[in-house]
């Protein structure tokens, strides 16, 4: 994610059933396969690359984390463990910036 602050600590894990959705306080647009996001909270622009944009499009509706991982594995040539790790970092980053919300799923 463009403008990633990154404090070095590993992001807290997500459960496969956790429901992810875009926050209401943002405006976004697709520009040639990349996504531009403007946060209403701080008026700062963020950018997502092609993989991040694929995730962003899925989060228009509440989506379980497992489904997002599966979609990225299917669309891009990446192993599931790696996808889950990278997507956890991305989604936690979006959450920290007020761009996405995570609702706990029915953990087993």
């Amino acid at each position: 994610m463009t403008g990633h602050a990154g404090d070095g600590a590993p992001p807290s894990p997500l459960d496969p059933t956790d429901l992810l959705q875009l926050a209401a306080d943002q405006v976004s647009a697709d520009l040639s396969g990349e996504t531009v996001i403007l946060s209403m909270r701080d008026g700062v622009y963020y950018g997502l690359d092609a993989v991040g944009s694929a995730v962003w499009r899925r989060l228009a509706e509440p989506t379980p984390f497992a489904a997002v991982v599966a979609a990225v594995v299917a669309e891009f040539d990446v192993e599931e463990d790696r996808a889950a790790r990278d997507l956890t970092a991305l989604v936690r980053d979006l959450e920290a910036r007020g761009l996405a919300v995570i609702r706990p799923g029915a953990r087993e």
Partner: protein, 385 residues
Amino acid sequence: MYTLTDYLAMIADRRRTEAYVAAMRAVIRPGDVVVELGTGFGYFAVHAARLGAAHVYAIEPEDVVALGPAFAAANGVADRITFLTGFSTRVTLPARADVCIEDMRGASPLFTQRLPSLLDARARHLSAGARMIPARDRLQLTPAQAPSKLHEEERRIVDDAHGIRFDAVIAQARRGWRPVRARDARPLAPTATWAELDLARFTALSVDGTSEWVVETAGLLDGFVGSFEAELAPGITYATGPQAERMIYDASWFPLEQSIAVVPGDGIAVRMRAVHDGAEYVWAWDTTVTAGDGRFAPVRQKQNNLPDLLRSPERLLRRTATFVPPVTESLAVHRDALALADGTRSVGDIAARLVERHPARFADPRAALRWAADWLAGLEESGSP
């Protein structure tokens, strides 16, 4: 950038001017200190002084302010008005004001730097409980059929005699807002308020609100007219929407990507957002249309003008804090020009040296002189720190 002609046209709009004068009569008390933001040559400032203000600070960044002192003198109030040249965010007043007068709207109350300027004025120029003219602005929308001019223009383009398809281009054109004369649109439902700005109390630059309508007139829902109602003081208002008398202000046209035929009883709902990005507003409008008789499933369209403002991901990258600007020839020209402008050289000397160092960038010394003079002057204008 407003010229003398613009200011005269604003004053000539008697509906606007008389409303402001009436509000000043109602609000200004003898002995008040008054500040006017964007005074032009001081027309409202002169009124404020004649109404008994102890002193008026009249602030204006444009050159037209140079006419202010003579204008005030001709009206017998020169001793009670101080004209300050520059942006209100960069001047310091010797006293805090009891009343603030401004009309920095243009077509919209959310005009680029208006709200940031008002927040700054409240923090630095105004006393606690200062009275604002206007007191409130109501942001309004009217569902409408597009002005016939827009329809005709689009039809002329789409009916291309050479068989060229314009779908993608028209779709892009419908993603952004554009200025429109409010009365040229055909309203399909009454004007409604989606947000209200209390100018003495607002704290957020971004605005988020909703409006709902039941369609009253059958037609093609092409988009929405964005207008406003100003409440200058209690009971003193004017509006700029399709049903109001024509005024100096334009309105904004927020088009739908796909027009929808509606009939009385259909429902329209909009969530409208204006997000300030530090320099300007990004607009987003999410529309839901529901058939009153169930003849179609609810239609939802989400739009914003980000693609208009940021035409490519590269442009976005340049706005993020982590972007590292590459050293280009253009950057080198600017860096040299800045270093040469050391307080001893004329702009002609600066231009001559720029031509020597960057012959590929300037056709001749005259081109360099023109560029250097304009660029250096621009550093003192709008948008510069």
